[in-house]
Symmetry: C2
């Protein structure tokens, strides 16, 4: 049994909930949709990780320009990326939707199909949520719960002077995809690839867990706002500085540094551990003890290769 | 350290987040605001409970008629009530806010003070969340995580024919409070009490844990939509019927049965265990094997006494 509450004021969407129960497979270890709370097992030696992210119409997406399947995918993807950022294994999610009355027929079903597909891909159970009506705009809020070995989560706070700053993939492709969407849509295969990078990001869940298992990896986060601002969060939490490449093979297009929504992992690693990392990556900078952020004008070779 | 993410598109509310860090005390066992996920310990023999509830402007509240402190309180209260409904002990919450630009000065601070006060009252840590801007309406989504002994959660599915149907307090007072608000506000002490019942419900967290520890208590849920519809959820999940009082000392005012938002606990208990329950309550019906819901026209004595 699994659970999802529903708001009786939304017009009694009992039909929607029973549809969801049919769409989403259950796991014997997790009780979910159909009760007040979902129930998950605990085990000594593990920690629970939890995070939440929301998508708001006309702030994070334009409804008329957004495919519902892809939005369903993205709603969970951005949350799984937070889990990946700590090295966690996602276990279950809660999905809350405030639904305007003017959604096109079939829209919600397609949204839930996207949500189901990414749930299956990352072995994450939909364990509950909440539904409501909304006066005009669509609101989507997702919370995700996962786990990691006790003491094994990678935070933003562990970066050390001398660490190399790395990313797990190309930066700026999501922003380039958004430009294509806003500019009228994809015109060729490459455009389609970039649009997909924007709408259907692949959270680096496996990579995050692998990196968290390497003792030389000292800090990690996911890139949601662009490396130019996100590196500052590691600097603040770790009380360090950074020298960052302003040109690098990892950077794509105009908005590689400030575009956001790449959902790659940004991490720092001891140079002695970097060569043998089990994950493809690019080195894009170095942690310093200066407390300041410096952009250097140099090219660097990338390590690993493009894996998408 | 505790965490709350913020959306850079909301205009960089770094100030807001650092204010929150100051307002909310931390617990050494929980890492929260300031990273991608919050981290909570696990222990063998316990289960994790999780739930989520949202409040949407012009659906769940009218901004101009709502005190921000009370709305902050209520945002967490309705979630803690779900935790109470399973017999769980709340541990941590995540708070997501989509904020319109036209909020009055000081509004957000008052909202957070209400959220802080109920967090302290129920010993629950604010462990993270998300903030965003919103085009016009305010959207609040809260997720709460708690725990209970493994196998000890009370679901809606355990009711047995012969069980007495009970509630932990008076029903209909929240609806009466809403009528007073919509009718122009409180005019006397009694009005104020009812308005408070609507805006600042006291989730039955302690009562829920006590009831879950009694072997004769077979099923439980919290009353958010009114007993007339909520009893049907226990009937459905337990595959039973019910005979319910249509008049009872537990019922207050016109909307005792259909008013909703009472956030009292509805539970079923073996008659042999009912007399010695450690929690004040009213008996309002009986579980049957008929599969049907019958409203009987009778008064019953109440057990326990009014505790508010």
């Amino acid at each position: 049994m699994t659970y999802m509450k529903e708001d009786i004021r939304s017009g009694g969407e009992f039909g929607f909930i029973s549809e969801i129960r049919k769409m989403f497979p259950e796991k014997t270890s997790i009780k979910g949709i159909g009760d007040d709370c979902a129930i998950l097992p605990q085990r000594s030696g593990l920690s629970t990780l939890m995070s939440t992210d929301m998508l708001v119409e006309d702030i994070h997406f334009i409804l008329s320009k957004t495919d519902p399947f892809r939005l369903g995918w993205k709603s969970l993807a951005v949350n799984l990326s937070d889990m990946a950022a700590m090295g966690g294994k996602p276990v279950a999610s809660l999905l809350s939707l405030a639904l305007p009355s003017n959604l096109p027929a079939g829209w919600l079903e397609r949204f839930m199909e996207g949500y189901r597909d990414i749930s299956a891909r990352y072995d994450t159970v939909l364990a509950g949520g909440d539904t409501s009506s909304s006066k005009d705009r669509l609101f989507i809020s997702v919370a995700v719960v996962g786990e990691c070995p006790e003491g094994g989560a990678l935070t933003r706070a562990g970066a050390r002077p001398g660490d190399l700053v790395c990313v797990t993939g190309i930066l700026g492709e999501s922003a380039a995809g958004l430009d294509i969407i806003l500019g009228g849509g994809a015109r060729n295969e490459e455009d389609l690839r970039l649009v997909r990078r924007h709408f259907m990001p692949e959270p680096r869940v496996r990579e995050g867990q692998l990196l968290a298992s390497v003792p030389g990896v000292h800090s990690m986060m996911d890139l949601s706002d662009g490396v130019a601002s996100d590196i500052r969060r590691i600097m603040e939490e770790s009380s360090v500085g950074a020298e960052m490449d302003s040109r690098n093979p990892a950077y794509f297009g105009e908005h590689a540094l400030d575009g956001g929504e790449d959902y790659e992992l940004l991490f720092t690693v001891d140079p002695s551990a970097q060569k043998s990392l089990p994950v493809e990556h690019f080195v894009i900078g170095k942690i310093t003890d200066s407390g300041r952020l410096v952009w250097r004008d140099s090219d660097r070779d990338f390590c690993g290769f493009r894996h998408f």
